[in-house]
């Protein structure tokens, strides 16, 4: 049976992980490769590396990092951040990434999704959506949630899927960082709307939250950062919990 996926997300600046971790058994917790390898050994199903560097030099460092990840880690990984055009995608795939995640650039230029799908296949193209429930309904936000748009989140998800996106990575900004659970109602609506996998992001605080995302939220995968980085939830423990609740996971 196809397993529900657990995906740790690492924020990278200038080639180093941004948020601290309290893994005492790591030689260098700031090294994304070391942390990625640890997660892989613990049973993470995929990894996401998000480049939050703004500078040109930082991009180069990130590309070199992607090459190291590809050489050393034996599970699929997605890279995102700083992808503006098809050449960025090509550069990162050539460095060894399995998938790329596009966000603001795809909203500004939706054709980017068509181009990625046509040139490299839909499976490569993860469309990340930062959404927030406003008085006017769920809206898409740009630039890491700093700029509100008029774009309806569900309409955009549908369009992205129609254009050839392979997966939707949906982050609820209201839930992100609050650790009170994922946006399950919106997730379930997203699942019913698009014929591609939906990755839940934002809100993980407990193991039960993951269970809820997979059951009432119907998510195909769940992504989290700090609960893993700070050891609040161990991946082996989370997976055996989900298994005991009847969720198909890779053990």
């Amino acid at each position: 049976m196809l397993a529900k996926r657990i995906i740790p997300c690492l924020d990278i600046r200038d080639g180093r992980t941004v948020k601290g971790t309290n893994f005492v058994n790591l030689r260098d917790a700031g090294d994304p490769v070391e942390l990625g390898r640890l997660y892989s050994q613990q049973g993470a199903d995929e990894l996401v590396f998000l480049d939050i560097t703004a500078t040109h030099e930082g991009r180069k460092t990130f590309t070199e990092l992607v090459e190291r990840i590809a050489a050393e880690i034996s599970i699929p990984f997605t890279v995102g951040g700083g992808i503006h055009e098809i050449h960025d995608v090509e550069r990162l795939l050539r460095a060894g990434a399995d998938k790329v995640s596009v966000n603001s650039a795809a909203i500004r230029n939706p054709q980017l999704i068509d181009d990625i799908a046509k040139n490299f296949g839909s499976q490569v193209c993860v469309t990340a959506i930062d959404g927030k429930l406003t008085p006017a309904g769920w809206r898409c936000f740009l630039n890491g949630g700093r700029i509100e748009t008029e774009l309806d989140m569900f309409e955009w998800a549908k369009e992205a899927s129609d254009r050839g996106a392979g997966e939707i990575l949906f982050t609820s900004m209201d839930h992100d960082g609050v650790k009170q659970g994922f946006a399950n109602d919106a997730l379930a609506r997203m699942y019913d709307l698009v014929p591609i996998p939906v990755i839940a992001s934002g809100g993980a605080g407990t193991k039960e939250h993951f269970l809820d995302a997979f059951t009432s939220g119907k998510a195909d995968a769940a992504l989290a950062a700090s609960v893993f980085h700070f050891g609040e939830i161990g991946i082996p423990d989370l997976k055996s919990y989900l298994d005991s609740k009847g969720i198909p996971v890779r053990l």
Binding site: S74, I75, L93, G166, E167, I196, P197, L251
Partner: protein, 196 residues
């Protein structure tokens, strides 16, 4: 031991050579006939579209070479599909090493998403690639087309229908999943192939 990885217009061929390096082996990415014929092992990786890739193989004479190899050959993903007779993807005539068709997944319910992507289990594992496999193991898949269960099936996976996760005939081996992206289980399979 020399391992040749077939060079052609496919994506992510390097992920296979990286996986070999992690096993302490080294693969040479090549389309040179002499190197392909003299290698101890040949790996035919693949991410791409069937008809376009077959056209490329034919125009470079690689189809004839592949079919006539006598050392152990491992086809991965599109590699497995192209080793079959025909693919529905682009209505492509393929290499015909395995005399079976490749067909597209037909969703039967909303949750049947195509491509089949992610970790799924392999069962009924037979043959040397799966030496010492005693229970269902998870491996990583990304594909929209599949080989039905047939006389060459060496491992089975269930997604919408049961299909061939692996094929074997004589010196030809193939996996629909990506051993190079399947963590420690994938490493065991690659290691078994290298030890043939």
């Amino acid at each position: 031991m020399s391992i040749a990885i077939l060079k052609y217009n496919a994506g992510n061929i390097r992920s296979v050579s990286h996986a070999l390096e992690r096993l302490g082996a080294e693969g040479i990415i090549t389309d040179d006939e002499k190197l392909l014929r003299s290698a101890d092992k040949v790996i035919f990786p693949g991410v791409g579209e069937a008809e376009t890739t077959m056209q490329y193989l034919r125009s470079h004479g690689l189809d004839t070479i592949l079919k006539s190899l006598t050392q152990p050959v491992l086809g991965i993903c599109l590699g497995q599909q192209l080793m079959c007779r025909h693919s529905e993807e682009g209505d492509a005539d393929c290499l015909g090493i395995f005399d079976v068709p490749v067909v597209r997944f037909q969703p039967e319910a909303w949750q049947d998403k195509v491509p089949h992507m992610g970790w799924n289990t392999i069962t009924d594992c037979k043959g040397p690639l799966f030496k010492e496999f005693s229970k269902p193991e998870f491996v990583y898949f990304v594909h929209s087309f599949y080989v039905p269960v047939c006389e060459f099936t060496a491992a089975t996976t269930e997604y919408i229908v049961p299909f061939s996760a692996s094929l074997h005939k004589d010196n030809f081996y193939a996996t629909q999943f990506h051993p190079e992206k399947s963590g420690s289980v994938g490493e065991r399979i690659l290691k078994n192939f290298l030890e043939l």
